[in-house]
């Protein structure tokens, strides 16, 4: 019977769980950003009366 050393490697396990956490965070942030953009479009954000600031 072969022993799966990976299963007993705490460093590897930690990395694996960290990776899952990052991926959940990443996809959540992407969805949140898209939601922000949609809300912004409906709120008229891109059509804001943008008077440029004085350069003097």
């Amino acid at each position: 019977m072969k022993l799966d050393l990976d299963e007993f490697d705490p460093v590897d396990k930690r990395e694996r769980s960290n990776g899952t956490g990052i991926s959940v965070l990443w996809y959540s942030l992407v969805i949140a950003s898209i939601v922000f953009m949609v809300i912004g479009i409906f709120a008229g954000n891109p059509f804001i009366d943008y008077q440029t600031a004085s350069t003097l």
Binding site: G19, T20, I22, S23, L25, W26, Y27, L29, V30, A32, S33, I34, V35, F36, M37, V38, I39, G40, I41, A43, N45, P46, F47, I48, D49, Y50, Q51, T52, A53, S54, T55, L56
Partner: protein, 296 residues
């Protein structure tokens, strides 16, 4: 391939300069472009008041949102999307002011002793000058003092000063150049002097846009990885090569995904131990050397 890499990055940076100065209509119209594209911002700091700027500045837009008291959903959303994919890469690859700083740094012995509090100054420029002051005073305070604005907008407009066709009088009225303009010029001269002796001081100690991007360096798709072979500067014969090449003066092996890293990838061309990882979260992909990444 490696020797080509530096020139490829410089070419892309020059494209950034071209992109931000596309609007040549100002020369014929003699007035500031106020077209629809001015509501869209470029993903780096560049003055919206520059005579040839077709797009807005993200920090200029943020100030305007604060001044009119509207939450910038769209601005945050679309900048965050870019950050989630490439982190702070826009700073290293396309920002014209980053290019200027890269080109101006010439000191053989750069100033290394920099007060620690300066590292936190981008927070002050973001929260106080770009949000709080515009919110309470309705004035764009960061833009008023920004050295980029002075360089690409303030000085060109003052020197050119065309007759505005809508009013029939000079764009810059006589006597309208007040003390703030002279303060701006002094700030610009100070910045230009600092560029020669410090690596990218504006990006490190001022830029609110860089601060915003820095939150995404740890979670972006593009990441750096330092391999096992790295001896943390001990084998570099007195000069830590990655730090020497890094425009932000970072020791890459200390934190490959440091919030300060502008993802210029120059360290990949310098040291074989530094690799780039580009993978969708949840999917594993091996780290690639510069040559492998360029071929891909």
């Amino acid at each position: 391939m490696k020797f080509l890499f530096h020139y490829i990055r410089r070419t892309v940076q020059l494209f950034g300069v071209f992109l931000t100065n596309l609007y040549v209509g100002t020369v014929f119209q003699n007035q500031l472009n106020k077209g629809a594209l001015k509501s869209v911002c470029v993903p780096f700091l560049y003055c919206h008041s520059c005579p040839t700027a077709p797009f807005a500045c993200p920090i200029g837009l943020a100030q305007q949102y604060a001044a009119v008291r509207i939450f910038p959903f769209f601005l945050i959303g679309h900048l965050a999307i870019i950050g989630l994919f490439v982190g702070r890469m826009a700073c290293g690859w396309i920002c014209p002011f980053g290019l200027l700083q890269d080109l101006m740094f010439r000191a053989r012995r750069q100033i290394k002793k920099i007060p620690a509090f300066l590292k936190h100054m981008p927070w002050v420029f973001l929260i106080v000058f770009s949000i709080a002051l515009p919110f309470f005073t309705t004035e764009h305070w960061f833009s008023k003092l920004c050295p980029i604005g002075t360089l690409v907008a303030g000085i060109p407009w003052v020197l050119w000063n065309p007759i505005d066709p809508s009013t029939g009088s000079p764009t810059i009225a006589q006597g309208s150049i007040n003390f703030i303009f002279y303060i701006k010029v002094i700030i610009l001269i100070g910045c230009l002097a600092a560029f020669v002796v410090i690596k990218r001081p504006f990006c490190r100690f001022v830029c609110p846009m860089g601060l915003f991007w820095s939150f995404f360096n740890k979670t972006s798709l593009v990441k750096l990885h330092v391999g096992e072979g790295c001896n943390r500067g001990e084998g570099c014969k007195g000069v830590i090569r990655c730090q020497q090449k890094c425009p932000m003066d970072l020791k890459v092996y200390e934190d490959p995904n440091s919030p300060e890293c502008v993802r210029c990838l120059e360290c990949l061309a310098t040291c074989d131990n530094v690799k780039v990882v580009c993978a969708w979260p949840g999917k594993s992909e091996s780290a690639k050397s510069l040559e492998e990444a360029m071929v891909d």
